[in-house]
């Protein structure tokens, strides 16, 4: 049992850090861009410091930037350094991780679009209300703005950005990121396998409150939260719990809480947590009934939260099981962003050890004698470069949608392995394998739906139903394999093959 708990902690921790890596990288780049391109004054101006638009701007920038609740940590540390007000920083910290173009597309296609729009607007209400109250209760929370640093133009300015990102990647941000990941690790150690399947049913009045208990410690990327939201709507689980999952699951973690308490004091940090949780819970109760999907038969369970529970149960060799699952769950390319962060952290560590007094940065600040600029040489001000960089990050995440959600024909090809794996495993009555491949098969059908919406501007009901049928039959298949009903499994395998053919025809020929 102890071995399973330890490996459960390690597995969830590792999987989460791999998932967080691209967002963390985006956060480190954003923080460095704010520090070196925008500077103190530019950052304060961008976040509306001293104006009444601060909270709205924090929400809007947060909604656009592709960061998660861990990737937001270096950014809020930079905002704090620049002397931005506490309410604005905390509003950005919560709203930043909620949506990005990838997750928004997924939510609009696979959940209830109206629910997603209302969830987005509700997040504005939450961060604005909490920010105003917090700033009113705790005025003068901003640090005095530090002296402005001016860097030379050209390669010096670029090197300064890289140095800032490198130093930050192995500094206090890393400590808070690891603290943030400890929550999901603890859940993986202590929550019994599959113990959350019935906790968030629509008829459980405590579901939103129970979700608060789960969502604060665990870490979810914007995409994961949106996937879980989609599954909750598909199973007609508690809408209130889904809302809390989005706000607190994607927007909050132990690292963020720890940072806010360390920076502002225990009382103020706790006040922030209570404000956000309280308003989110209140809105969850308001939204619970009106947004409940009427056209879906409520299910009495969901598998959306199995990934927070202990992954290993009664396995003979935990180490082998750990390695096998890691190899399966993390594709080779998914490690790459983590390697980039590792490289950046090594560089930062080298800089910190070899150059504690930041002489390298001082050298970069020295103005270079520039010969008379050429006719076509234009010196671009730092804030303009900063805006372009942030716009580039946003543009990259939008264009990334086309790669993440391929065209329907490509999805149909890509799902072949998963389909064969799921059906073969089912015929062999191997539950673990069936579950593993079914999840991948299911995932490709969802990606195909979003890919269709992205390219054709809509997803007709006909196509929606064709994919939904495959998913429903897959779920039944998994249960029948688990229950050991061989006859039912054979019938379902035939049914799924037939549904796959119809789905394929629909997406290839009738779009």
């Amino acid at each position: 049992m102890a071995a399973e708990m330890v490996s459960g902690f390690a597995f969830r921790f590792l999987i989460s850090i791999v998932e967080a890596a691209p967002f963390l990288l985006a956060g480190l780049i954003t923080a460095a861009v704010l520090r070196r391109f925008f500077g103190v004054a530019g950052t304060r101006r961008l976040f509306g410091e001293g104006t009444r638009w601060g909270l709205f701007r924090a929400w809007l920038i947060g909604m656009l930037l592709p960061v998660c609740s861990l990737g937001v940590i270096p950014v809020i540390r930079e905002l704090r350094r620049a002397g931005v007000r506490g309410g604005t920083i905390l509003a950005f910290a919560v709203s930043g991780p909620l949506f990005n173009p990838l997750s928004l597309l997924y939510g609009l296609t696979l959940s209830e679009p109206m629910a997603i729009v209302l969830f987005g607007l509700s997040s504005l209400v939450i961060v604005t209300a909490a920010g105003i109250i917090w700033d009113w209760c705790f005025p003068q929370s901003a640090l005095p703005a530090p002296e402005e640093e001016t860097y030379g133009i050209g390669s010096r300015r670029m090197l300064a950005v890289a140095a800032a990102a490198a130093r930050e990647s192995c500094g206090a941000s890393l400590v808070w990121v690891l603290t943030g990941l400890s929550g999901v690790g603890l859940a993986g150690a202590f929550l019994p396998p599959n113990s959350l399947q019935h906790t968030f049913n629509h008829d459980n009045p405590w579901a939103p409150l129970l979700m608060t208990g789960l969502a604060i410690p665990v870490y979810a990327t914007p995409m994961l939260a949106m996937t879980q939201l989609g599954m909750m709507f598909q199973h007609a689980n508690s809408v209130g719990a889904a809302f809390v999952l989005l706000i607190l699951g994607a927007g909050m973690n132990f690292g963020l809480l720890g940072w806010s308490m360390a920076e502002y004091g225990f009382r103020r940090g706790l006040a922030w947590l209570l404000l956000i949780s309280g308003i989110a819970l209140g809105l969850a109760l308001i939204l619970d009934k009106p947004l409940f999907p009427q056209d879906i038969e409520p299910s009495d369970h969901t598998h959306a939260f199995d990934i927070y529970c202990r992954p290993f149960d009664s396995v003979p060799d935990v180490v082998a099981a750990f390695q096998q699952r890691l190899e399966r769950d993390v594709s080779p390319w998914e490690w790459r962003p983590l390697f980039v962060i590792g490289g950046l952290a090594c560089l930062g560590l080298g800089l910190r050890l070899a150059d504690r007094r930041e002489r390298f940065e001082a050298w970069l600040r020295q103005s270079r004698t520039v010969s008379t600029p050429g006719r076509f040489d234009i010196v671009i001000p730092g804030p303009v470069l900063g805006l372009l960089s942030l716009a580039g990050l946003i543009g990259l995440s939008i264009s990334g949608c086309y790669a993440w959600y391929p065209a329907p024909a490509d999805c149909l090809v890509a799902m072949t392995d998963a389909r064969i794996g799921a059906l073969s495993a089912a015929l062999a009555m191997d539950h673990e394998e069936t579950k593993y491949w079914s999840e991948r098969y299911d995932d490709w059908t969802r990606k195909m739906e979003v890919g269709t919406w992205l390219r054709y501007g809509s997803l007709p009901l006909y196509h929606r139903w064709k994919t939904r049928l495959v998913r429903e039959q897959l779920e039944m298949l998994e249960h029948e394999v688990d229950g050991g009903d061989r006859e039912a499994v054979q019938k379902l395998v035939t049914a799924i093959s037939k549904s796959q053919r119809r789905m394929s025809e629909a997406y290839r020929e009738e779009l």
Partner: protein, 160 residues
């Protein structure tokens, strides 16, 4: 430097309270584990969720027949289905998209089938309101579904 020191100090003070908070939150969520009997009980529920209701038509071919059979005139010529029957009819009408998608109907046929849904609902609403329903609307919609079912059947026969 001041901030870093402060962060480190508070972090050290907080780390044990984090563990306690985490344990409380997770226990609250999961109920501190489950017994074997709980799991077995849940398993039954999971399967019961997937049990097919007795009044659900097996396929699209049975759909028009079921709709026709369950809403017919009584001996006095009136249409007065019981509350239970009305509920079953509403559920069958709700299953039209699913049954149509689970057939070889192409997109145009699917759209035609789904477009009959509001007509059935209109009649059921009239019955629920205690008014005399317009059975011509109901029958016309059933006929549309029947035509689609016949078309499917003949297509299947032609393919064989």
């Amino acid at each position: 430097m001041r901030l870093a020191d402060q962060s480190r100090d508070v972090f050290q003070r907080l780390q044990y309270s984090w563990l306690l908070t985490a344990a409380v939150l997770l226990c609250l969520t999961s109920g501190c584990g489950r017994s074997q009997s709980d799991d077995e009980h849940e398993h039954e529920h999971e399967h019961s969720h997937h049990a097919r209701p007795a009044h659900k038509p097996d396929n699209f071919h049975e759909l028009p027949r079921e709709l026709q059979r369950r809403l017919s005139r009584d001996e006095s010529g009136a249409v007065r289905p019981s509350q239970r029957r009305q509920q079953q009819l509403r559920e069958i009408v709700g299953w039209i998209p699913e049954l149509a998608a689970d057939s070889d109907l192409r997109r145009a046929g699917f759209d035609t089938a789904v477009s009959q849904q509001p007509k059935f609902q209109q009649v059921l609403d009239e019955i629920a309101a205690g008014r005399s329903p317009d059975m011509a609307v109901w029958n016309a919609a059933v006929d549309q579904l029947q035509q689609l079912a016949d078309q499917l059947k003949s297509n299947a026969e032609n393919q064989q």
